[in-house]
Symmetry: C2
Subunit: 802 residues, 2 copies
């Protein structure tokens, strides 16, 4: 592992799934796992390419229950390319003697490289070198180059190149009992003598997908004209090529593939578009050059350069941070701007959660907002397009405004499962996770953060304000007035901690007065009124008219924002929810002794006919999320507004209380805890930060990474660097810095964008330096610690001693 690549220098079948997840290539549209010679496909449980969203189904599970769900769909596999010595079996890594094996994921350029040197049972030694990429700027194209070299033999080589639409969704073991054939064949044909064509359609959403693959052979830079034989099956087309090989003269097989769907813009029909694109596509090296350039340009904006204090162990962390940035940019990039997609919690890398959109945005947007806010804008517009669906969801439940779903699918409706499977007990149990209404807090928070960082008034006028007001309205309608307490309450919801979805022995799911939710609602109601103040008078009037939003409703928001109920334990701990104090303490030692890691304590307890609902135990940060999203200052203001005290000790007290009761069953949990510990327990924070960095690399949850990387945690790790270590805060029209560089890091360099201004930042333990590079934009206000903010224009520098 160097700073820029993920390197594996041995062939290790058991670890192959994880490696492939980490070496996924794509661009948020056209995403592939690995680039193995076809015969290694036995190892490849994720055969191909993913398509975002779009599949509704009503199907029976293994137990005959109905699960209504929406899925991402495995796209046809464009990779199949294999070879053999004429008369032998097709190449199979397991059947040959592997002399050398080297797989490298080049993060800087988005290229997967593989070198294999093997000896077959006839003693023939052959070298195989592969490079593959999914083009970062020409999103409809991908390429696979295979260089074959006979080391000690000559003879006839057969090559098989194909497009395979017979793929299924079988990447997640526990989903395999469910229907997983999502593609229906439409057409296979040969476009010309070197090009194959495949067209399929998703079963239910009727999205059409067309691929064209051009395979060319070269020797000594000259194209070879070879015999080709076509293989045609309903959802598969391939070809056999035969060629003479001479020892020491490498043969290059170049496969270029185009992919279009019926949802692409600026096309007539996707099959025509794929055919046209492949005809116009350059060769492998020209395409690769453009792809490399696109990645270099992306890295120029996104890289975080870290110098460590000389420790070798930490060197790996630099690469892991880059691995995280890389996978973020595989999932969302400039290509996303033209698509109607959200940011899925597991990237487009695996099938877990079926590509649904959750609240992970709250961990991901800070990174995008400060680098390429155009992407955030697109992802927020994805929400805006689903505003009507959210309005209907609210209405159907008897609420006002808009209620976004916990798991959002292509049409924006609630896709959370109603039951889920516990592999530990073999039982299907009710799933109440849809009660996590707090996703509506995250969306509102994200809208405001985007606006705060970009100052994008057009977005606020056209989309942001409307969503934010409708969300505020939903919260105001779900809040109920408790006459006795003279307080508003929110009842029957779930917080981020998914271990608690009901009171023990209650008939109905849901908990009352989740502290995280209630505080967020107060913040949202204040924010909504602020947005109304910011809007130009004319737009405000029109928007209120369209929404039928009246003065007394806004006055009620104000009232709620002053009288929301929070519950505290006697010792000043913020109760995660009403009644939390009455729950039993869990014997963590007992469970850790018995089960080792207890990340999925919920499954363990359920299998014991028990439930986490009875215990003071959390899957992930819940109350502590407040310290993650708000500064102490902001929280103090919110608490005071509600008439509650907020002491200096509130934060560390709550942190230590909840941290010892958390199993980190979500990878997001370590991000939050690393953050909240960063000022009080630097060592503990660094340990958690390291865990986040290694979460997917070592698959700490034991098998979940191959089901899809954990994008929230990946983005969260980089956000820790920028907002926690560099201490960036964007509030009140200012870009503030409050650095707290861990001692493990000697120096940090990164580039940000704030209100159109490009800011280069470098930080060490002595100094913070800023340079504004863009001209022609308004000056920005920059502050450091408690010092008064200064205005910086393009070309100006700011430096301060820590």
């Amino acid at each position: 592992m160097t700073g820029w690549s993920l390197l594996y220098e041995s062939f290790d079948p058991p670890a192959q799934k994880l490696r492939e997840a980490l070496c996924t290539l794509g661009n948020g549209y056209f995403c592939t796992r690995g680039a193995a010679p076809e015969a290694a496909a036995d190892e490849v449980h994720y055969p191909g390419t993913y398509l975002a969203g779009g599949y509704n189904r009503l199907e029976s599970d293994v137990h005959g229950r109905i699960i209504e769900n929406e899925d991402l769909v495995n796209l046809p596999n464009w990779l199949p390319l294999t070879f053999r010595h004429e008369g032998s079996e097709w190449f199979d890594l397991h059947q040959v003697e592997v002399l050398d094996f080297r797989q490298e994921m080049d993060l800087r350029h988005g290229i997967l490289k593989r070198h294999i040197r093997y000896r077959d049972d006839q003693g023939r030694i052959t070298r195989v070198a592969q490079r593959s990429f999914v083009h970062q700027s020409r999103r409809h194209l991908a390429g696979l180059e295979t260089v074959l070299e006979a080391e000690n033999w000559s003879g006839t080589f057969n090559i098989r190149s194909a497009l395979d639409g017979k793929v299924v969704n079988d990447g997640v073991e526990r989903y395999r009992g469910l229907s997983n054939h999502h593609l229906a064949p439409l057409e296979v044909k040969r476009i010309d003598e070197e090009t194959l064509f495949l067209k399929v359609q998703t079963n239910q959403s009727e999205m059409r997908v067309a691929l064209a693959a051009r395979t060319r052979l070269f020797r000594d830079d000259r194209e070879l004209c070879v015999n080709r034989e076509t293989i045609r099956e309903p959802s598969f087309i391939g070809e056999y090529l035969s060629v003479q090989v001479e020892a020491g003269r490498p043969l290059t097989v170049e496969k270029i593939v185009s992919l279009f769907t019926s949802r692409d813009e600026a096309i007539s029909e996707c099959g025509l578009a794929a055919s046209k694109e492949i005809t116009r596509a350059e060769g492998f090296s020209d395409l690769l050059a453009g792809h490399r350039r696109a990645w270099e340009h992306l890295w120029d904006r996104f890289d975080v350069e870290i110098d460590f204090d000389g420790s070798k162990d930490l060197e790996q962390d630099r690469t892991l941070l880059r691995l995280h940035i890389f996978h973020l940019l595989q999932s969302v990039s400039l290509n996303t701007i033209e698509l109607d997609v959200g940011v899925p919690s597991r990237g487009w890398h695996g099938e877990a959660y079926r590509g649904h959109i959750f609240w992970d945005e709250v961990f991901i947007f800070p990174l995008l907002n400060l680098r390429m806010p155009e992407i955030t804008r697109t992802l927020l517009r994805y929400r805006y397009r689903r505003l009507d669906e959210a309005r209907n969801a609210a209405r159907d439940e008897g609420f006002a405004g808009a209620m976004y779903p916990w798991q959002s699918g292509s049409s924006g409706r609630e896709e959370s499962q109603k039951i889920h499977y516990n592999p530990a007990s073999g039982r299907w149990i009710p799933d109440n996770s849809r009660l996590q209404r707090h996703v509506n807090a995250a969306i509102a928070y994200n809208i405001w953060q985007y606006y705060q960082i970009t100052g994008d008034m057009e977005f606020l006028l056209f989309y942001g304000a409307e969503m934010l007001l409708e969300i505020a309205r939903f919260w105001a309608s779900i809040a109920t007035w408790n006459e006795d307490l003279d307080r508003y309450e929110i009842r029957g919801v779930m917080g981020p901690d998914e271990y608690h979805d009901a009171y023990p022995d209650a008939d109905q799911p849901g908990l009352n007065n989740n502290a995280y939710t209630n505080v967020m609602v107060v913040w949202i109601l204040i924010c909504a009124r602020r947005v109304l103040d910011i809007l130009p008078e004319e737009r405000r009037q029109k928007l209120q008219e369209c929404l039928g939003l009246e003065k007394r409703e806004i006055e009620r928001w104000d009232d709620i924002s002053r009288k929301m109920r929070l519950i505290f334990h006697n010792d000043g701990i913020i109760s995660q929810f009403e009644g939390y104090a009455d729950l039993k303490e869990l014997d963590w030692k007992k469970y850790r002794r018995r089960y080792g890691e207890v990340m999925r304590l919920d499954r363990i307890l359920e299998a014991e006919n028990d439930t986490p609902n009875r215990y003071k135990c959390s899957k992930q940060a819940d109350v502590l999320m407040l310290f993650y999203l708000f500064s102490a200052d902001e929280l103090r203001q919110l608490f005071h507004r509600l008439g509650y005290t907020f002491e200096y000790e509130t934060i560390p007290k709550n942190i230590s209380y909840y941290l010892m009761r958390t199993s980190h069953g979500s990878t997001l949990s370590q991000v939050v805890h690393a953050w909240v510990l960063s000022r009080s327990d630097r060592e503990g924070a660094w340990k958690l930060f390291s865990q986040v960095l290694h979460a997917d690399y070592t698959d700490i949850q034991g098998g979940t990474t191959p089901e899809g990387i954990h994008l929230g945690a990946m983005a969260g790790s980089i956000d820790l660097v920028q907002r926690c270590f560099v201490g960036i805060e964007t509030r009140e029209d200012e870009l503030r810095f409050n650095p707290q560089l861990p001692r493990e890091i000697s120096r940090l360099r990164l580039k940000l964008r704030y209100r159109g201004q490009a800011v280069e930042i470098s930080l060490d333990h002595k100094r913070l330096k800023l340079v504004c590079t863009a001209c022609g934009v308004e000056p920005i206000r920059v502050g450091f610690g408690n010092r008064r903010a200064v205005e910086l224009c393009g070309g100006e520098k700011y430096e301060c001693t820590l």
Copy 2:
């Protein structure tokens, strides 16, 4: 005709086509003609709803030639609703005695109203009142309300409501020999007892379209439960409803329709989406209320209030201006933002030009830029998505950069026909209109104007600069160096004047050194270098790297922009193109005597085995376009840069020379000429302005309006008001005013947006008043005449005496 409606108070079958064109309802997505009871459909040559773009075809015309073309497609007709007295024939306006007839297009609210009172052969008198709308803000919904009242009879009424997918494209007579069936049936079904469903697919682009129609009957505000009988055909579904009618008790039939296509966002499958939408849709009046509000909000931004000098004749002009604004907003509106569509020259109102996108944007964008630039941005992104196609087009012709097509279809390729039909001679003749490369000048000009008015740097960074540079590059590559003259030339193109496409008796089409093109190119090459200067250094570098744009290429731009060739007649007239001076004068009198209006002189001459290529005659403004797009000041600078003189008299001299040689064969011509005459010949200008206002209303071209309104001319008429009468100029980061109110107008009021600032303008012959209403945006620079510009903030006023 009042200020807000187009009123017809008699039933006039011969004029029906024109009326329907002028009373089209839609929102750039879902567009319908008329709302006639079904039986009047005999008159309705445009049966339904239009779908933008998306149809490629290769087909034989009547003469067995191949015409490759791309088409807009008539969507299924959602309107069919008719009735009869049980036992009689279905209602037919031609078969009854029409006692009263009144059709009103309510421009303010986008509602088509129709009142009919008729007596049948049994002496039964019935009143029919219809209102219909296509929802302006909920773009997937439309509604038709029919109130039936028996005046002097009681009995059983039959009603037939349907969705009709058996539509064809037959709106343009001369296209009828071509294939016109574009929809294939997919599914018809009943969703529930009151709702019908139809799904079809376009033949070639495979776009799916689903409609659901809910029909309800009401009497005295109570819904009636009636017998329904279903009619099912492959591409048609309808129902019969029977109901008892009593004299004097009106019966209301409410038909609400939803429409989705497979290209819509935030859906899974269009049929599911249409079904869901109709289930959730409110009743007619609630929907109508939202629709009216949406239109009121639009008018608040777009209306131009004109007070005339008391002349009754001029009162109509006020309505016609509003008719023009109305149809612009039917074609492009906020709904456009979510769609990948351009702005078609004939709106979505008719089939002429098959929905292709030409250069009309240059006449339309000034209106949008100064009111809702978000729409312009979307329309420019439509071009950006087709940049690769334009690059390929350039490469295929041996040029560099991007060459946008004269007629752009869904995939952005050239859709200009290669031959066209002359009805006057009955001959098919070669069509060289694709040589109008000047569309690439219009696009570049539009990008800059949008940027200049909005200051939208993000657009420039992501889209605008790249397009503009690639267009500049194309022009630099088509320009050739003439060693002898020490000048650059552009050869083998056509200018806007379509009467000239070749030299008389030349083998090859195309003309050399079209003055309009050459000057535009100079402007573009200067502009491209300016854009490079404006871009932040980092972006500039990356963009140049991506485009492979090197210093010497940019230096060549500079060289061309100083040495482009223009040709002048001896008397200082700018030659329309090289060799124009040698053409013969046309005997206009002779032709006018023989043919009356000679707008289509090209057809007349061709039928006489002659050609306009031999004469000094223009279809529309060509050289004069320069005076339309640039101020005298700008032109003087351009000419001087090239080393040519530009005298004060150049403008009037050229105007009078070319105006007398123009047939106004395009409606755009009057717009340009009204503009250029405005300072030298106010009466002439006003006359031309009036012609533009009446162009579609009276169908001055004799039949072209029912084939689609002339959107460029409609928008151009309003642009004349704002940029010519109010004298608005947006240059060098300033909003300048130089009013020249025609004496026919006593007062003008309108609202603009400039760089995020809302500006209310009122103007009479004595004073110009400005009020800035938005706060929180940067101050704008405002100038008047030659006075020094001032800065205006939100809340500030500016007033000056003329």
